[in-house]
């Protein structure tokens, strides 16, 4: 390869680099994720299993229990309270030590249009 050819290639490469906007980044070689995967997979498995546990009736009962709790009533008196959704919390180490450890349930409400979160302890059932 002649020196002229090499210079031409380098020049063409430089022009190409200048034309390509900085914001366009293309990763030709994608490396498969390995790190942290074990724990993430364990959580994914747990999420699949546990999300089936709370039935519609369970959710309604929990909602009623929360709304009948005095501290909730005091806080939300006269306000428009709407149950939005529920989610779950757990600890992977606790779960590995005892697979039967219940998850905490987090109930998400809107109170006069503002988000409101109530946590139900999975072990003690306390709000």
């Amino acid at each position: 390869m002649t020196s002229k050819t090499i210079k031409t290639i380098l020049f063409a490469g430089l022009i190409a680099a200048m034309i390509l906007p900085f914001s366009m980044v293309d990763f030709a070689d994608a490396d498969k994720v390995n790190d942290k995967d074990k724990n993430v997979k364990a959580i994914e498995k747990e999420a699949k299993n546990t999300s089936k546990q709370l039935t519609k009736a369970d959710k309604e009962n929990l909602d009623q229990k929360i709304k009948s709790t005095k501290k909730v009533q005091d806080l939300l008196k006269g306000k428009n309270v709407v149950l939005i959704d529920e989610s779950y919390h757990g600890n992977l180490l606790e779960l590995e030590a005892n697979p039967d450890t219940p998850l905490d349930i987090i109930m998400h409400y809107e109170v006069d249009g503002q988000p409101f979160t109530v946590v139900v302890d999975g072990t003690t059932n306390e709000i």
């Binding site: 993430v40 989610s87 757990g90 988000p115 409101f116 709000i127």
Partner: protein, 252 residues
Amino acid sequence: MKLYEENGPLLPNNGIVAAYPNWNNQAIDGLRMDIDNTPDWTYQFGYGWNALLLNGQKAGQNWGLCTPTQFPNAYFAQVGLIFDSTGADFAWADTQTSCNPQRIFTSVFTGLSGDPAPASTGDDLIFQITVDDSTDTWILYAYNITTSDYWYKSKVVSSSNLLAIGTPNTSVFYENPRVAGTGWSNGFAADPVVDNAYERRDSNGGWYNWSSEAQNDFQCNPGLLSIGDYLSGTTVTGLTFDVSDIDADCGI
């Protein structure tokens, strides 16, 4: 229990976004964001919050994403970190919350009259959004590796199989509400970093580095600097948000 009064994260419309594009037309059904060191944050009175968010939009209808009546035809979800007067907090939002944020507590359940801090400075975190084609189930995850605490929320969204690509609504997003009369809040001890983001490919279910990405600013006014001044790196090498340049150039 805590009643939050701040407005929270919405669709990416004011901030710096690294979006999943469609240049390579890679079909994906999952997105993940790794924050290896939770930033050191001090709330500055008079300024708004900041957020590092992972966004996912259902492939298909691209309007009505924050309109509950459009669910399940349209669906959008986000999960990540909000930095506000209570410190770093996990949060999520979706179409059915009108994109209004819901806070998540994962570490502190006792002494609820205080302000829980699910993520402390330096904690190693993972956020993830996945779609299960066989059950039409979306699952949002937040995982604090340092404490082993995790949180998730699942939702059945009919006819779901893929995340939309080529939209800032499937992205990693640094957001600031830019409350009128205030600048961006520079409460970080060091510029916040998203260390990695990954895609889950529909073809084989494996997790990979993003095959490409697009970086843009949204409603950064006057926005005289280039995106490279607001953001450096990639989702593979680590995204560093230059808060001082953003603060100086993206103020109202």
